[in-house]
Amino acid sequence: MNPQSNDKDGVSRRGFFQLSLGWIAGSLAAAATAAAVVRFLVPNVLFEPGQRFKAGTPDDYPDGSITFLEDERVFLVRRGNSFRCLSAVCTHLGCTVNRAAKGYHCPCHGSVFNEEGAVEGGPAPRALTWFLVTLSKDNRLLVDKGQVVEPDKYLVL
């Protein structure tokens, strides 16, 4: 068959390839530009406070206390010789929960959590998160907000 012959719609094979090539090249260029712009907007370096912090010595927290650490938005919970750290960030939309007489209340949309951080009411979809607490070499409590643990995981001294 003659490569220059026209098909029924009057589009030659060469014309078809030229058109396809044009469209493919144009789409690829547009997609690459869009991808580059989106990637540009994703920061490579974050100037944010670290996830790990030292929360003082165990003796700073009396037995049975629940202490709100403002700068880190966590509660440090001591019971006997066990230490745990509860996130104060509501799992609904990120407000800071308040300590209530029993459990925790979120002021933004009314979520209620019990002492273990489990949802008792309101729109929160998940329980508050517990973070890993360890003891550093210089006898300080070390909290890692990057490591989520189960509520029954304690640091026992």
């Binding site: 989106v38 907007l41 994703v42 920061p43 974050l46 100037f47 944010e48 406070p49 709100f68 403002e70 700068d71 938005r73 609904h92 939309l93 990120g94 407000c95 800071t96 308040n98 300590r99 209530a100 007489a101 209340h105 979120c106 002021p107 933004c108 949309h109 009314g110 309101g122 729109p123 979809p125």
Partner: protein, 428 residues
């Protein structure tokens, strides 16, 4: 007797031809000049030389679209002025707001005007949408202009959302926190989208910079462009919608076939659809002065009202942003409180699914409701069904907004506004 100074200046303009070089037509004296005044002016040629009397009727359009446009102008003017003092920095932004309030001459009034005009613009864009719906004005051939209108509505909300973040007060901080967390509930891309919006994991400087760029250039430019297209299409679709019975109604004719018994100026050519002439020519009047006068009057009223609000009521500025203590209750501005009420039941359903469905339904509306009848009249009987559905949705939205505004107290619990809310006990 000496000629008064203004007259002498005007005379000089006329003699030397300077005046004519700027304004091709002087003050119009004849109908021909009235048309020329409109067509030969860059600023006026957006509008037709003649306008249907029905379109001028305040009881039909209520001027809502025009009011929204004027508020947009006021927002651009005051916004540019505010940019001369504002610094998008988490450490400086709040202080700059205080400077604007207490130190900068007229800063307080300009900031007040900006905030009140923003509130009014959201309100009037909503009212304009209601007007267009209840008069069936989104029907053929104006389907796509309705879609642009929906996009403009969303852009208006985006502008006000990014705007009230900039003072970096408590409202700003917690609005970003809640807003970006709602985005985080979007399926599949949620967490990535949230990271992209914040420019990180926490609400801070990166987020403020991003929202600032969106507020002062990206969204206004998009809105300006869409406003231009919106107005252009109003012209091309034959002016404001009007009933079939009113003279000069739009009729579709095959492309390239214009009646030969009339000569057309370039400005009157419209592809596919043109204003029909000859049926009832008495129903059209010259835009100069009938339209121009009304527009100027309305502009004066709008700016006077915004100024009145700005002089007597101060725009809110809450305490400085505090990442530890959300205000209790933490409330968004009124136009987001219906959404906030929904979100308080479920972030995913109320914050993602319901808004997405609503916006989709609004955008598709003119393609779903394809009946041609009942255009150009308020509450047309033929449209009883559509009007009822719309009214029910509207009533639910208004009810949710009222509940969110007055019936929600600390911890988003139910309160009755005419009783003092019970004191909250918080151990810390």
């Amino acid at each position: 007797m000496k000629t008064p100074l203004p007259k002498r200046i005007w005379g000089w303009f006329a003699r030397t031809g300077v005046g004519k070089s700027i304004f091709r037509v002087g003050l119009p004296q004849s109908n021909l000049e009235r048309s020329q005044a409109m067509v030969s002016s860059f600023l006026l040629h957006v509008q037709p030389a003649k306008v249907n009397r029905h379109s001028l009727r305040a009881s039909y359009s209520l001027g809502l679209g025009l009011i929204s446009l004027y508020l947009f102008f006021i927002l651009i003017g005051t916004g540019v002025l505010l940019m001369f003092y504002y610094v998008p920095s988490t450490t400086q932004a709040y202080d700059r707001m205080k400077d604007l309030q207490f130190v900068v001459s007229a800063g307080l009034v300009i900031r007040n005007m900006h905030r009140w005009a923003a509130h009014l613009m959201v309100l009037f864009v909503m009212l304009h949408m209601c007007r267009v719906f209840y008069t069936g004005a989104y029907k053929h051939p104006r389907e796509f202009n309705w879609v642009i209108g929906v996009l403009l509505f969303l852009t208006t909300l985006g502008l006000s959302f990014t705007g009230y973040l900039l003072p970096w007060d408590q409202l700003a901080f917690w609005a970003i926190t809640v807003g970006t967390n709602i985005a985080g509930y979007a399926p599949f891309i949620g967490p990535k989208l949230k990271f992209l919006m914040l420019g990180g994991n926490v609400v801070g400087q990166e987020a403020l910079t991003r929202f600032y760029a969106l507020h002062v250039i990206v969204l206004p430019a998009a809105a300006g462009l869409m406003v231009a297209v919106h107005l252009w299409r109003v012209r091309k679709d034959g002016g404001l919608s009007r009933p079939e019975t009113v003279g000069g109604s739009v009729q579709t004719m095959p492309q390239g076939q214009l009646p030969t018994n009339k000569s057309y100026g370039l400005m009157e050519l419209a592809r596919g659809t043109t204003p029909q002439v000859g049926r009832d020519p008495d129903d059209e009047v010259f835009s100069w002065p009938h339209l121009i006068f009304r527009e100027l009057l309305l502009f004066l009223l709008v700016i006077a009202f915004v100024l009145f609000l700005a002089v007597f009521w101060n725009a809110p500025l809450e305490e400085m942003a505090n990442a530890i203590h959300p205000p209790n209750p933490a409330k968004a501005p009124w136009y987001f409180l219906g959404l906030q009420e929904l979100v308080s039941y479920s972030a995913f359903w109320g914050g993602v699914v319901v808004p997405a469905l609503l916006v989709t339904a609004l955008a598709l509306l003119p393609y779903l409701d394809r009946g041609r009848r009942g255009t150009g009249r308020w509450f047309a009987r033929e449209r009883a069904m559509a009007n009822t559905i719309f009214s029910v949705c509207l009533a639910v939205a208004v009810a949710l907004t009222i509940i969110g505004t007055v019936f929600r107290g600390p911890n988003w619990s139910w309160v009755v506004p005419w009783r003092t809310p019970p004191a909250i006990t918080e151990g810390r």
